[in-house]
């Protein structure tokens, strides 16, 4: 089983990125192997629709859950239509976020972020 996190860096100590569409990396955590992989978010330089492009990348990773701080309306619309479960995490490292995910102590993202 795989989970995806929006990440500021490419180390397991890196922080979960507040931004989803324009995060620096996507961290892919393999729950069985207990290991992290990283892919750079090439869509973060998009002129428009960075959230949509990021959602498309995440969909292709075939993960079961996404851990991020918040999702914009367009990214939310895409991911809500998929089978992924969306979890919110605020100001924590990837390792911490994964721990809390395993302990089932993260809350769900149930609506898009609007500022």
């Amino acid at each position: 089983m795989k989970i995806v996190l929006s990440s500021q860096g490419n180390k397991k100590e890196s922080l979960v990125d507040v931004r989803f569409g324009r995060c620096n990396y996507f961290a892919i955590y393999n729950v069985d192997k207990k290991s992290f992989d990283f892919v750079e978010n090439t869509g973060k330089e998009s002129n428009q629709g960075a959230g949509i492009a990021a959602a498309q990348v995440v969909l292709k990773l075939n993960a079961e859950a996404l851990l991020t701080e918040r999702l914009g309306p367009k990214a939310f619309k895409v991911l809500e239509a998929s089978s992924m479960t969306l979890f919110k995490c605020h100001g924590m490292s990837l390792e911490d976020a994964v721990d809390r995910f395993k302990k089932n102590s993260l809350t769900l993202i149930e609506e898009p972020y609007r500022n």
Partner: protein, 274 residues
């Protein structure tokens, strides 16, 4: 002859310049500031012909779609997303370029016309109007300029900024007027507008609105050797006329200022053709 009026910074007086000059020079006025057109307030056009402007958006036949996602990959604007069982379209991001249709091997793509705004044309006056919540004025501006080609001489009132909509408004113009105000902010954005217009290789001159004496603005123009077409003095009288929806040329002293600008502009246009 197309003369485009732009500014960089918003609220410097593009519309004031374009409406008043179009009157004193008997040019048509075309309002390309489609997000917030306001030239009509001052020129008060009568009876206009209205035309809807549409954008071509793809329609996906889910029965024919083979989920190859070629359309998704081809979309430069991230308007399409491939889910497991369907393609999702974000129509407000679609520029109507048709690339998705070209790459579809399953013949699952057709097009539909989606209204995004309208244009209104009267005698010597025209304006574009973008629908609420639509992000893209470009297609309306292009359509508006094409449908007002029959006006021999046009003042084109551009939107503020230096974005795509401004580029669309400026494209093909014979001369550009850059309107600015003597503030640090005005100068900052004027520099951007100058960069844009020099990149597009269009001859231009500057008008300083709300002029209240020699300032850093004059200094900049002298330093860069940029043509100054004239000034519009700062006064309560001008503000009052504007707030009542009147043209500044209704006041004699302001009319004189616009006649001076007209003269300088005509000289510049003549030099341009030499």
């Amino acid at each position: 002859m197309d003369i485009v009026v732009l500014s960089g910074k918003g609220g410097t007086g593009k519309t004031t310049v374009a409406t008043n000059l179009s009157k004193v020079m008997s040019y048509a006025y075309v309002d390309c500031d489609v997000e917030e057109p306001n030239g009509y307030i001052f020129l008060k056009p009568e009876q206009s012909t209205e035309m809807e402007v549409t954008l071509k958006n793809p329609v996906i036949d889910s029965g024919k779609c083979v989920h190859c996602h070629a359309c998704v990959t081809s979309c430069e604007y991230n308007a399409l997303v491939g889910l497991l069982d369907k393609i999702m379209l974000f129509e407000e991001l679609c520029h109507g370029c048709g690339a998705c249709q070209l790459v579809c091997k399953a013949d699952a793509m057709t097009e539909t016309e989606r209204p995004i705004g309208e244009i209104r044309i009267s005698e010597g006056f025209a304006m574009g109007l973008l629908n609420l919540k639509e992000p893209m004025g470009g297609p309306i501006i292009s359509d508006l300029k094409e449908k007002t080609n029959h006006f021999k001489n046009r003042f084109i009132d551009a939107p503020p900024g230096t974005s795509c909509s401004v580029v669309k408004s400026v494209e093909g113009s014979d001369f550009a007027i850059l309107v600015t105000e003597p503030t640090t902010f005005g100068l900052h954005d004027l520099i951007k507008a100058v960069e844009l217009i020099e990149m597009m290789k269009i001859p231009y001159g500057v008008i300083i609105n709300r002029y209240d004496g020699y300032s850093l603005m004059d200094e900049y123009l002298e330093y860069k050797n940029i043509l100054c077409l004239g000034n519009i003095p700062f006064s309560r009288k001008a503000a009052k006329l504007y707030s009542e929806g009147s043209l500044l040329i209704e006041d004699d002293s302001y009319k004189n200022h616009f006649m001076t600008i007209k003269k300088n502009l005509e000289d510049a246009l003549e030099r341009r053709t030499l």
